[in-house]
């Protein structure tokens, strides 16, 4: 470990790495793993202004991932290994005789070993106008920032040249920026390299359905510019012209081998520095890895997994060289699998192995359902060996199929592509995979290695599997010991969603019934626990009108299920006192009501604070004071603010069109309408919302579970936002809705969330978790793909008609009020442990008490 213990400290050698992309960084990590960063002084020349980042996830920038979050360079990595990283300083010249590299800054670095990892550059076809303002490529974070800035400055229509994998990603990005988007592809189908005609047709149908204009079999002839030299239109080879304000070229990539050419290294016919199976170029002191290299099999790999393998191979070769047994390395790179699984514009596409059926005598097995937009093809050898395949629209089986490639599957190929329920054999489980099947392609991890771990985090830590493109994560999950079950808790083997369905379809209105009939054997007849009781209470409450239960949370058995906050309709504070939060819809309040709040606070000596949710919190009420305080508030027209419930909290608003010079809609009115509509709605977790009167977004709607932003012609609805510990910007669900359309869509969205989310799962986490993500939710709630929208709307209508203010109801019922006593044997006596001391003219808890020490793993309520 420590350098001082090395017996003969060898003189440090110099290693220069040119290019700090994904493969370059992986190479540095492999160097460090082999201990070579101790024996070598490593210099990295990096052309881009930032250290290596996840290029594969580039497009996620448009869904809110920041450039920093894209980084793949662990903080402190360079320092820890003594690596010198030169940002923004590309290599310009290599002198192989002198073994030096000259950087743009003029610095000259001597090397014993030089490694080229310069990646590729996007190919821009030589059409007139290609350099006009508004023409871009799609490769770096800087490209993405420039595209975004240009689009925001006024472009409304964009075109992508190239309908391959990257072209479709770029098109998705343009669409996400709000541009009407065209794709122009020279080949007769989309993704010509990955899928066949059938797959291309399925893709085309789905993408057209998503509002993209696709032009296949057409070339780009010219980019037409205006007087200022900016893109105005695009002329196609069929003579037609498209009005576009922005063009992204995505017509393939070329290996960046210019440096190598200039210094006389051998390069392949179609580009790429030629290397041997240990990634060495024609000069034994120079290696080349990643997309800039042409492997021994004569191919240039444009994917990250083969690049990683090359990085590891080169590092291993250097290590054995350093150990002076130049024959001693097994590591070699002789070619790789080109499997890919992508989600392009919401469509799942996968291809693996010999997807085009190039092998002699191989056979195809295909299944197509054009209505559903799915297409699946397997390529099978004459002896039944699975050679490869293409999946479009439904890639469920990808992980298993890819891992089975090269072997004879245990069931006939036809059964592997037929959809479940169409006479197919039960889906082939991952158990069927051989131990040495590669489960994670990016990191070349086998089933056996994955199964040596117990949990996904452990797998990621120990094997790196799942930390690349992520497409194997699902399969990994299936291979891990199913931690017993996915059950809600020790009492129920079902998930919250399953319990919801049981309660809804069997109209179960009692926790006891549910536990005794549907709980785990060992838990039946028991008490339940602190996890399932509130969760079931919430399910019953959100379904109350539909299943004929009493929605009032303090009645009968429901009372025993609620967390203490719901039980006392107030939030418990650290010293045992409570807070009181009246609803102030949209944050709008009259002076008279403000005065009532002030008077109540003064009279009961409560600490008053404006909350982060645009309302007022009154702290320090003792349990027996709650009814008296609320009697005053209800009398003045206030209602419960449900600050205690897993329910709608606030709908914040900005002042909007009525006063603000920028406002384009009445955001306050809409916020109030929404807050009144959804007040009291019980959900798996709390729900927050906001409405902004224009795109300046003063109400911070995009940090909310459902956020509404006004447009000139209506409202945009964003969903799945979150503040808190893991902030997430909400995603656009639908645009330019009218009032009724907005409310209808929110009704559906909320009810779908309530139906399918896990316990204590905010909409943001739910959206990230559910299969198909935002696109699936859009399919269900906008396009009604499951045919349940009418039912979701009816459930919400029930909620709205049955809403009652919990505090008004409580005050009207002496039985219920009986709960609000300090002691069952001394109802009026204040708890002697609840005491206060003054601070800044108000009170604060007097805590000779202990300091709170959170229970590990407990979640705040």
């Amino acid at each position: 470990m420590d350098a001082t213990s090395t017996p003969h400290p060898a003189p440090q050698k110099n290693l220069v790495l040119v290019g700090h992309g994904m493969v370059g960084q992986r190479f540095l990590e492999a160097l460090a793993e082999h201990g070579l960063t101790r024996t070598h002084h490593v210099v990295v020349l990096c052309e881009e202004p930032r250290p290596a980042y996840d290029r594969v996830q580039l497009t996620s920038y448009f869904s809110g991932t920041t450039p920093d979050e894209l980084s793949v360079t662990e903080a402190g990595f360079m320092e820890r290994h003594g690596i010198e990283l030169c940002l923004g300083d590309p290599a310009e010249h290599i002198d192989r005789a002198a073994r030096t590299v000259t950087a743009r800054s003029g610095h000259v670095f001597g090397y014993d070993t030089l490694v080229l990892a310069t990646g590729s550059v996007p190919f821009v076809p030589p059409v007139p106008g290609k350099d006009a303002d508004g023409c871009f490529v799609y490769r770096t974070i800087e490209d993405v920032l420039a595209i975004e800035a240009y689009a925001k400055a006024g472009a409304t229509t964009g075109a992508v040249v190239g309908g391959g994998l990257l072209g479709l990603e770029a098109a998705g990005a343009l669409q996400g920026l709000g541009l009407a988007t065209h794709i122009v592809e020279f080949a007769p189908r989309l993704m010509p390299a990955q899928v066949d005609d059938g797959g291309g047709a399925a893709l085309l149908r789905t993408l057209t359905g998503r509002g993209l204009a696709v032009h296949t079999g057409t070339g780009t002839q010219e980019i037409v510019t205006d007087e200022a030299g900016a893109v105005r239109a695009m002329r196609l080879s069929d003579g037609s012209e498209l009005d576009v304000g922005l063009v992204v070229f995505s017509a393939g990539v070329r290996p960046r081998d210019q440096l190598a050419r200039d210094c006389g290294l051998a390069v392949g016919e179609r580009g790429g520095v030629t290397v041997d199976e240990r990634c060495r170029t024609s000069d034994p002191h120079v290696y080349a890895i990643g997309e800039c290299a042409q492997a021994v099999d004569g191919r240039v790999y444009g994917l990250v997994a083969p690049g990683y393998e090359m990085a590891q191979t080169a590092a291993a070769a250097l290590a054995s060289e350093a150990a002076e047994n130049s024959e001693g390395t097994d590591a070699s790179f002789t070619g790789a699998d080109m499997s890919t699984k992508l989600k392009l514009l919401g469509v799942d596409v996968a291809s693996f192995g010999d997807a085009h059926g190039a092998a002699d005598g191989c056979l195809d097995v295909a299944y197509a359902d054009s209505r559903a937009g799915t297409y699946k093809k397997l390529v099978v050898g004459t002896d039944g060996t699975l050679l490869g395949g293409v999946l479009v629209g439904d890639t469920e089986a990808y992980g298993t199929l890819r891992a089975l490639t090269g072997s004879v599957p245990p069931v006939p190929a036809e059964q592997l592509v037929l959809p479940a329920g169409a006479g197919a054999a039960p889906a082939l489980g991952p158990e069927a995979l051989p131990d040495d099947a590669v489960v994670c392609n990016c990191h070349n991890v086998t089933k056996a290695a994955v199964q040596a771990c117990a949990t996904l985090p452990e797998v990621k830590k120990c094997t790196k599997a799942g930390t690349g493109c992520g497409s194997c994560v699902k399969l990994i999950g299936q291979l891990l010991p199913q931690s017993g079950d996915q059950g809600l808790c020790g009492c129920f083997a079902q998930t919250r969603q399953e319990l919801y369905e049981i309660v809804r379809t069997l109209r179960v209105t009692s926790f006891r019934d549910l536990l005794d009939r549907h709980g785990r054997e060992s838990a039946r007849g028991g008490e339940g626990c602190e996890t399932c009781k509130p969760a079931v209470a919430s399910v019953i409450a959100s379904l109350a009108p539909a299943i004929g239960a009493d929605g009032y949370v303090l009645d009968g058995e429901q009372a025993a299920l609620q967390d203490t906050n719901d039980h006392f309709l107030a939030n418990l504070q650290k010293n045992g006192s409570y807070s009181v939060v009246p609803r102030i819809p949209g944050g709008e309040i009259t002076p008279d009501k403000l005065i009532v709040i002030g008077e109540v606070a003064r009279e009961f000596g409560l600490y008053t604070k404006i909350t982060g949710g645009q309302r007022i919190d009154l702290f320090g009420a003792r349990v027996e004071q709650l009814p008296v305080i609320w009697a005053r508030l209800v009398d003045a027209g206030f209602e419960s603010g449900h600050a205690y419930g897993k329910a709608l909290r606030t709908v914040k608003s900005c002042v909007g069109q009525t006063w603000c010079r920028y406002g384009v809609q009445d955001s306050v009115r809409m916020a109030i309408d929404l807050e009144l509509r959804y007040r009291g709605l019980r959900a798996p977790h709390k729900l927050k919302s906001a409405v902004s009167g224009c795109a300046r977004e003063c109400a911070e709607a995009r940090s909310k579970d459902f956020g509404v932003i006004a447009t000139a012609s209506g409202w945009n609805l964003y969903v799945g936002g979150n503040g808190g510990a893991t902030p997430r910007h909400a995603d656009l669900l639908a645009q330019d809705l009218d009032d009724a359309g907005l409310v209808r869509l929110i009704d559906r969205f909320l009810m779908f969330y309530i139906r399918t989310a896990d316990r204590l799962e905010r909409t943001s986490a739910w959206l990230e978790r559910i299969d198909g993500g935002l696109d699936h939710v859009r399919d269900v709630v906008v396009d009604d793909s499951l045919g349940i929208c009418a039912e979701l709307e009816a459930l919400m209508a029930d909620h709205v008609t049955h809403y009652r203010d919990e505090w008004a109801e409580t005050l009207a019922d002496p039985d219920r009020l009986a709960r609000f006593v300090s002691f069952v044997n001394a109802p009026e006596a204040p708890d002697p442990l609840v005491a206060f001391v003054p601070e800044r003219d108000q009170i604060k808890p007097d805590l000779p008490l202990l300091t709170l020490r959170p229970l590990e793993g407990s979640s705040a309520r």
Binding site: G490, C491, R512, S522, A523, G526, E527, G528, C529, E530, K533, P534, E557, A559, A560, L561, D563, T564, N565, H567, F568, L572, K574, N575, G576, A818, S822, F823, V824, N825, A826, A829, D831, P832, L833, V834, L847, P848, L849, L850, L852, R853, P854, L855, S858, S859
Partner: protein, 126 residues
């Protein structure tokens, strides 16, 4: 030690005229009518010294339990407001503040070997 009332079924505990008693220093203190208790929830009892408090619970089988009301983790007297549950057939209450669970029969904290609360004997008296 908490004991149940001769394994009283729920009907006994809720009989209209029955009352609940706690054993303190060798004698029984009547605290409330049995009908005041909701199965699965607790109530707080102020002890005669005007400071100490007990948390009294009824489970769904009608059994009574009483433990000290003070949550040792926060110092606040709130255990009576926690949720009652059972694990491996043993009843517990989860503190409403930070959710530590206490065995209702022994007072032992299930989430921290070093913590626990006192227990009282309780019974229903017709």
């Amino acid at each position: 030690m908490t004991t149940m009332t001769e394994t009283a079924p729920a009907t006994t505990a809720t009989a209209a005229d029955a009352s609940v008693q706690l054993r303190l220093d060798g004698s029984w203190l009547t605290v409330c009518a049995a009908a005041r208790l909701t199965p699965g929830r607790g109530v707080a009892v102020l002890l005669p010294d005007g400071r100490r408090q007990a948390a009294l619970f009824l489970d769904r089988a009608g059994r009574l339990y009483a433990i000290d009301n003070r949550d040792p983790f926060s110092g606040a007297a709130v255990l009576s407001r926690g949720l009652v549950g059972s694990a491996d057939g043993r009843p517990f209450v989860a503190s409403p503040l930070l959710k530590q669970r206490f065995d209702l029969e022994t007072g032992r904290c299930l989430d921290d070997d070093e913590a626990g609360v006192g227990v009282y004997e309780a019974r229903v008296c017709a």
